[in-house]
Assembly symmetry: C2
Homo-oligomer: 735 residues x 2
């Protein structure tokens, strides 16, 4: 099979206009063009993609997932090393240049995690998850007990205060009720943000310890039928998870901004700003019910009642006390990343895909489903390569170790290779929890949101037979959904808005690429009724019975990943949409300016940012016009290469070299995980936080930093426009 | 003691300006004036009120409630007759002219109410409420079994569909899920509107039968601690209640618009439009859990999951079936209203207070608390009368029978005495469920809302020691409340808005006065954590332990009732605020015009209503000005009397003689209970319903009717202005 591009076709054969954002405006029609491709090359790209999409196979994905979930394989254990070796071997068998890259990290293993109610009566808690005969994996003695990674060791006996989700608002409500958590054990339900932020807030409010639990309202019986009859969390299930303060910095806590390799300079653990300081552990709804039922004191505020069948109370009196004992074994433990390259015609630019391979227990959905999909993407790319195709750019597929404890493997690799990545990386595409149901969802940097949407038009949704794009629109605009929000149906059910692509927050391995290195990133997967997150039940049985019984969504994900990779890999002009980026910046800035409206000083400080944002918008429009002008015909390869080197680096010019105030590891001026959310994105985080804190000095510094970043980005876009305008006059004999 | 008014004081002694709405604008300051009183008379009124408020006593209220709750006394039973006799005797002992007025009504008693689950297994349900040793009343064998009054007899075996609250929106969601209730047993939770509307909607959707249950999310453990440890509904408790379609018409179903006295013309039951047609019964959360747990089928839509500890499903398949059997004994049964008058100097105008005396079981909060408070109001008024005071107008205190089945006793009395009431009634003040906690709440016709607010400034809140008004402001604007709505505290906690007085809906005995006879009405009481509504647990034990252990709120209510009664009774010029009424009309009309904005035909039809509303507003302003002008000094008694006869009748001129389209009993054009809500108020109900139904002919008719009503009201106000302007010039020697 010859899938090499027909290089000398007449431009006139393809009538459509090359346009960076054409895809978005021609929704629902047959596509003639592809963003980033000259009209002369679009048909070849289409043929290549069609060829590619025929290869991923449900049987392969199922068998890969079966292997990946064959044993518990937590980071730092030998099982994690074995999975890495197996992954390397798979890639080598597909024809990739694959190797294991190793780091170490300061990483605990739990030796003892005890909890008992000591008042009003004595009762042992910390009950393990219940096994189920139909699913022998749940009996596996190698499964790690439930714990929160990076909890310190400690022993506490104290009264309990229920704090709802443990958010800043929740602590404000508690204060209004006159309840203090000082010296108490805080009991918080999972949900509404990253568990590490709950730990940090409990510590800030001087709690003695923290217990996290899964309330059935969030992901248990109130959400749907629990495992083993359904996909939701049973009463005995416990959500493991890290409480590392990754919103301060992720990665090995002892080596911020430095790769944790032999000889690296290490902090003392006491100096690591992202290490939690109060003992923390997770428990099941069953165990939480025992504690909650015994609490006295005020009735909880509105919205704090969860799904357990009794009245929730705030507690705080000495009538209910628990004894908690946690013994952690901290050590430098090994991490094994797998880096597999399919070398391109040029090795100067890399299209990077990644997911972690470490799991809390079996990790079927998290992360195995994404891994199995990536393996099918890789096998298909390898098959094409064996048939004679060679990628234009190098495709790099990564499987990270130690994501669960705190993005360890990805962060260390990015810290080690930052300069090379910033020179070569086109984009990073993350596929954690690739399949947990049928509902596609994605987050991305604004310049790549339409690329994601476009790719989903090319792949069939297994359920409906329509495209994933159409199913995605439907799942965000279902009649039931509309009814519940507005009380009546939309007048025109045919009207389908663009499906939402979120902003990048945190919580998976795109964070070091995007937040730290300024690499344009995408995070995506199929979600759904997934209640067994971070439990022993996230296993093959769960996936086969509930998540994706036919593995058709694994195949769909492999196809989307490959389609995006091939578009970035083969593009004539990389399909970055900076007009969309500039709109996002302007919109977010307007929100901040509204917040500052009644503070004349703050409003004045933000004024130059508005000018910089306007300049960014103008430069993006000029660059887009110039690129459109050269797109009517093939351009000259040298100019194309220069433009393609510049295009990804616009994102990097939005980094502040010294990072955000108070958390220098986070260098992106436009997006960061919220300092008090942890997962979800905060726009213009430096300014937003300074406004929250009414801190004029910081506001001034962050505004300067943001303005400078926007002006750097403008200058880069102006350079792109200049390059595009210098391109030789159109000719029918392009590169 | 001489509390007669000092009739010849110099007007100059009182510097303040008489003003209909002064009270509202001088909030928080010392009051010199009282709305409705000439400056010369305000001080005497104050002295009278102070005297009055010293008399109500917690010991008396407690002992009265103990008697009232000493036996179950459902309407139609001899116990209800005994309570009526006792009430008559009390009033006679206070010096009132009291008598029993009797009617009959077509009224069922339950002979058999059975329910069993027959699939997937057999299990008897319809379990009675559990007794509690600490509260011997709960063992009383005379307590009626749980049933829904006016359910027909019937026997059904069918699958079950869960319909959430059973509202129109809920049925729309069900249709979107493709689920039909035709031929099925519908299971609906209580809440979000009147149970009779749930029955009517189930009937309209062709259900075979209806089961109502109390979900713990509404008034059970999710709301707070259940009885006997707390005030909320325990799992075995059942809410009795009528399903008569009172939103079509209340009162005896066989005699709409006619008093049910011997010889009255009666409909055949089959022709009574307010009688339900499908068997309906209420059950406990315990029994509902058995059924809900066995339902299969689709997971419920968002917001349908209640507080029971499992996943709710819609059901509908034959896998879950129940067998229901209801045998009702329908008959003409007797009703005993108590009407007690304290005759005034003139008997030409009546100030009417009322509450029902029939109860589902013991009726401590509902209705005993309001009755006990009214008795203290009456005792205090009687004490003043014995000391030499004579009311200016006649005070009429009523205790209705048969409210629970469907406002029977009050409706028949109003139907019988409509002409006299429309000539004499100044206002009707209702005090059902007078005390169920510490939070004051009220609804009223717009012209009397400030009168309610003003009265609460004069009475101390037992908890805080501040006025009931201040406590009322705090309870609607608590920090917790503010936090939960906005996420942050109001910048200025001192800022206190007017506390909300709602519009009159339905659900108690003000409905025939207001909706049918156009008598200005008020409904009020102290609410709180009241989860035992219509259950056996609404008894003396509940009130003594949770509702009002010291009976201080009973005393506060007696004081407020008496203060309002005395202001209406003694007023020089009755304190009706028609400017406020006109604002309410204009506001509600604007809402309807917004809804009609995109329907040119409807918008055109509403245009004349806007003109009529503007005229009403102008006339109200002119009348207010004219009344203010005569208020600088005493006016002449003959004019005063003419004005006072006109003032209450403005409300009556808002009635449409033929009533609303489809429900002619409801004659008020501005307010009615919502046709699909049942309790809550619907503004401009004829127009609102016509817009909902897109029914142009009806819209035209209702718009004409409303315009005519507003123009009649304007004409009455113009007449008032004319009378006021004709008043003699101010003199220092008034009446």
């Amino acid at each position: 099979m010859n899938v090499s591009k027909p290089k000398k076709r007449l431009a006139a054969i393809f009538a459509g206009l090359f346009c960076l954002s054409l895809a978005a405006s021609s929704r629902g029609q047959v596509f003639e063009n592809i963003a980033g491709f000259l009209p002369t090359h679009a048909e070849a790209e289409r043929a290549l993609e069609r060829e590619f999409r025929l290869i991923p196979d449900a049987g392969h994905a199922e068998s890969d997932l079966r292997y990946l979930t064959s044993r518990p394989h937590m980071a730092g254990t030998e099982a994690s090393h074995q999975i890495a070796q197996w992954l390397r071997d798979q890639y080598q068998s597909y024809g990739f240049d694959a190797q294991i890259v190793s780091y170490t990290a300061w990483l605990p293993e739990p030796r003892d995690v005890e909890l008992e109610l000591v008042k009003p009566q004595t009762r042992a808690l910390a009950t393990p998850e219940a096994p189920y005969d139909g699913d022998p994996d749940t009996y596996d003695p190698r499964a790690v007990r439930a714990f929160n990674t990076y909890s310190p060791s400690g022993e506490v006996t104290a009264p309990v205060v229920y704090v709802n989700f443990g958010t800043p608002d929740d602590y404000r409500e508690l204060a209004a009720l006159g309840v203090s958590v000082e010296g108490k054990v805080v009991l918080a339900r999972y949900g509404e943000g990253y568990r590490g932020v709950k730990a940090r807030l409990a510590e800030q409010h001087k709690a003695a310890a923290l217990i996290l639990y899964s309330d059935p309202e969030e992901d248990g019986y109130a959400a749907g039928t629990p495992y083993p009859q359904g996909p939701w969390r049973p009463m005995s299930s416990i959500q493991r998870g890290s409480i590392l303060y990754t919103e301060i910095y992720p990665g090995d806590p002892l080596t911020p901004e430095v790769a944790s390799v032999p000889g690296a300079q290490r902090l003392a653990p006491a100096d690591a700003a992202n290490l939690p300081r109060i003992p923390t552990m997770p428990i099941s709804a069953n165990d939480a019910a025992v504690i909650l039922r015994s609490l006295r004191g005020k009735r909880v505020p509105r919205g704090w009642q969860g799904g357990l069948p009794f009245t929730y109370r705030v507690g705080g009196s000495s009538g209910t006390q628990v004894h908690m004992k946690i013994v952690m074994d901290y050590a430098e433990r090994p991490l094994y990343d797998v880096i597999a390259k399919l070398h391109g015609t040029s090795d100067d630019q890399w299209v990077i895909l990644g997911n972690h391979h470490d799991a809390w227990v079996f990790g079927a959905a998290d992360p195995g489903s994404g891994t199995a999909a990536m393996l099918e993407t890789a096998r298909a790319l390898g098959t094409l390569a064996r048939s004679g195709w060679k990628p234009r750019r190098t495709i790099v597929m990564c499987h990270w170790d130690g994501e669960e404890p705190g993005l360890l493997g990805s962060t260390e690799w990015v810290e080690q290779n930052r300069a090379e990545l910033q020179a070569k990386a086109v984009a990073y595409i993350n596929a954690d929890v690739g399949v947990a149901g049928p509902d596609f969802a994605a987050s991305a940097t604004p310049s790549l949101k339409d690329l994601v949407r476009d790719a989903t038009r090319e792949v069939a949704d297994p359920d409906s037979g329509a495209s994933v794009y159409d199913a995605w629109v439907n799942s965000t605009e279902s009649p039931t959904h509309r009814l519940s929000e507005t009380g009546r149906q939309s007048a025109n059910p045919q009207w389908a808005p663009k499906p939402p692509v979120g902003d990048l927050g945190a919580g998976s391995d795109f964070s070091p690429f995007f937040d730290y290195a300024g690499i344009a990133s995408i995070d995506m997967g199929f979600g759904g009724d997934y209640g067994v997150y971070h439990s022993i039940y996230d296993d093959f049985y769960w996936m086969k019975h509930f998540g994706d019984p036919t593995f058709a969504y694994h195949v769909a994900l492999a196809r989307i990943l490959g389609t995006i990779a091939l578009r970035l890999d083969e593009a004539d002009i990389l399909p970055f949409d900076y007009s969309n980026y500039a709109s996002a910046v302007a919109r977010n800035l307007a929100d901040l300016q509204n917040r500052a409206m009644h503070q004349p000083e703050a409003a004045a400080i933000l004024k130059p940012v508005g000018q910089a944002s306007a300049q960014f918008t103008a430069s993006a429009a000029r660059a887009e016009d110039a690129l459109r002008a050269i797109s009517a015909a093939p351009s000259d390869p040298a100019t194309e290469e220069k433009i393609n080197r510049e295009l990804p680096e616009v994102e990097q010019s939005l980094l502040a070299p010294d990072g955000l105030t108070g958390r220098p590891w986070f260098k992106h001026t436009i997006f960061a995980p919220g300092a008090y959310a942890g997962y979800s994105s905060q726009a213009m985080p430096g300014i937003s936080q300074a406004l929250d804190d009414s801190d004029t000095a910081t506001l001034r510094r962050e505004a300067d930093s943001l303005s400078a970043a926007l002006l750097r980005a403008s200058a880069r876009l102006d350079e792109i426009a200049r390059l595009a305008r210098q391109a030789p006059a159109p000719t029918f004999e392009g590169h």
